[in-house]
């Protein structure tokens, strides 16, 4: 008995020893900052004056009236149009890869390249691709026109307000179509029981019917998972690409919520206001997460 107690204490001491390095950092750089950020959202502070000035709910009141915030929320949502397009593409590629044709591994590797190499280098490449005079896209459009005997000219992708967001969507689809989602779909497709397809075949179902009645319901948990994760990511996305390719322009048309937080905090030193926006962003993500938990719990039996 005495010995047992001693072992327990020893175990607890060891456990805290293992936990300590991570826990200290976690408290210092995550838990305490979360609380501090909530506090900051109720003050006005530019880091230069004497100290934070209590402002009550005025940051949030300002946010409701801020036309830029509304615009940037709309931009963020608009850019999320890339999500369904890229998901459909990922599923199509996964189905094609799942046929076990020759060269599957090579294809998969190539599809993964854009996801792997994301970041500043790729955004710079796309800034050049979208260059109206000598970028790859517009010269291809012009050459295509020549073949047809027409004079086609592509738009000023990144400097035209009407084209900047579509340009970003095209790029995001290119980047995400063959990445994580495709791998998840591929795993899901491989998990669909063979005998369901056999049964459908016996019933005389064609490929299309088999897809809608067997494959699609069977992989729906994966679809739901990808959709919610992409939504959560989508609300926080858009900084790197806009910073490198457009600086948030033209006329703020590619500025997203996260970029607005960055500008408020680190360009204009409006710490309280930036913290308030970040909490609104958190609430949006929290709502999506709750929906995900509530429904994913049910959907998960199906796999």
């Amino acid at each position: 008995m005495k010995n047992g107690l001693k072992d327990k204490t020893k175990e607890a001491i060891a456990a805290y020893g293992f936990l300590m390095p991570n826990l200290v950092g976690f408290l210092l750089f995550t838990s305490i900052p979360v609380l501090a950020s909530l506090g900051l959202s109720f003050v006005k502070w530019d880091l230069l004056s004497d100290g934070p000035q209590f402002a009550g709910l005025s940051n949030f009141a300002e946010l409701v009236k801020d036309p830029f915030f509304g615009k940037y929320c709309w931009n963020t949502l608009f850019l999320m149009m890339a999500i369904p397009i890229s998901m459909a593409g990922s599923l199509l590629l996964a189905i094609a890869l799942n046929q076990k044709l020759k060269g599957t591994v090579i294809f998969r590797t190539i599809y993964f390249l854009p996801t792997i190499c994301s970041g500043v280098a790729i955004f710079m490449l796309w800034r050049l691709i979208y260059n109206p005079n000598f970028g790859l896209l517009n010269s291809m459009i012009a050459q295509f026109g020549d073949m047809l005997g027409l004079r086609l000219a592509g738009p000023n992708w990144l400097t035209d307000e009407a084209w900047a967001k579509p340009a970003f969507i095209i790029m995001s689809v290119w980047q995400s179509i063959g990445g994580y989602n495709m791998i998840l779909y591929l795993a899901a497709l491989q998990g669909v029981p063979r005998d369901l397809y056999d049964a459908a075949e016996v019933d005389g179902a064609n490929s299309w019917q088999k897809f809608w009645n067997v494959t699609w319901p069977q992989i729906s948990p994966t679809t739901f998972f990808i959709a919610t994760m992409s939504l959560i990511g989508g609300f926080q996305a858009g900084f790197d690409q806009a910073y490198i390719m457009t600086g948030g322009g033209p006329n703020g048309s590619t500025t997203t919520i996260i970029y607005y937080i960055f500008n408020n905090a680190f360009e204009w030193y409006r710490m309280g206001y930036a913290a308030a926006i970040s909490w609104v962003l958190f609430l949006i993500i929290f709502a999506v997460t709750v929906v995900k938990w509530r429904f994913f719990g049910r959907a998960v039996h199906y796999t």
């Binding site: 094609a96 190539i110 599809y111 994301s118």
Partner: protein, 318 residues
Amino acid sequence: MGTHIDSMIQEEMRQEIALSTSRSRRKKPVKVMTELKEKSPLKRNLQRAVLFAILLIGAISMAAPFLWMVSTSLAEPGHVFAESRTWWQEWLPTTFVWQNYVKVWSVVPFAQFYLNSIFVSLCITFGQVATSAMAAYAFARLNFPGRDRLFFGYLATMMIPGAVTMIPVFILLRHLGWIDSYKALILPGIFTAYGTFMLRQVFLTLPKELEDAAKIDGCSYIRIFWHIILPLSKQALATLTTFTFMGSWMNLMWPLIVVNTHTKYTLPVGLAYFQGVHGTDWTLLMAASMMMILPILIVFLFNQRFFVEGIKLTGIKG
């Protein structure tokens, strides 16, 4: 939300239908099956051809921008702007200017950016994998008061966007006088709930017997952790290592926030700065970008299976 519920119900119904068909129709005459099989080869081959075409078109559109990047990085500076290029000149420079790759290193302190990136990414990766593994071991295999409550605290922060914590962390680092230092670049990147969570899930699946045997032999917790738990989880550790390294190699925003002198720039910030001062030297910019993605490409090509496994792991467990 209503539509979500509807679609879930529909899904459930489809599921029921699919299952009941598979059960009740199993006993259909075999004749039908042979009939079906006789028809299929031509159709099947056609289907395969269409799918192969989809794969090929996909591969070309994925790879084309990269090939163009390589060709641009090797072109003569004036070549890029030439309006009269034919389509093949676009893809194949008339002369290969390897000099572009050399020039990058002297136009900006590229070597310094590179070294900073390597140093910062290695420190973050090592720190994160080590501290996460230790914490995950405590959470998964040891009993201590407050364990579940603490773990819930970790979990709860996982959905908080980085944007929420970055402002107070910046203020904290400023107070400590750490702005513009390697400490500011590295330390906040090390401690993530994600790594701990992922490794805990993996450690939970390990068999208990080996550990018990070791305990009876009088092994200390440190030895169990080092000689049993870690070797059994090599794959998961490799996955976390690759993902963490890539994440910090690519990170633009945080270095942008905490660093303001050239000598501390990491590659992403350095490249953004390069673009700012030499924005139209496209051949040099592409050469620099190529050199930035090269290490990632190499890591990926050699560790492909860790990526695939890692994605499946996050997908299933998340």
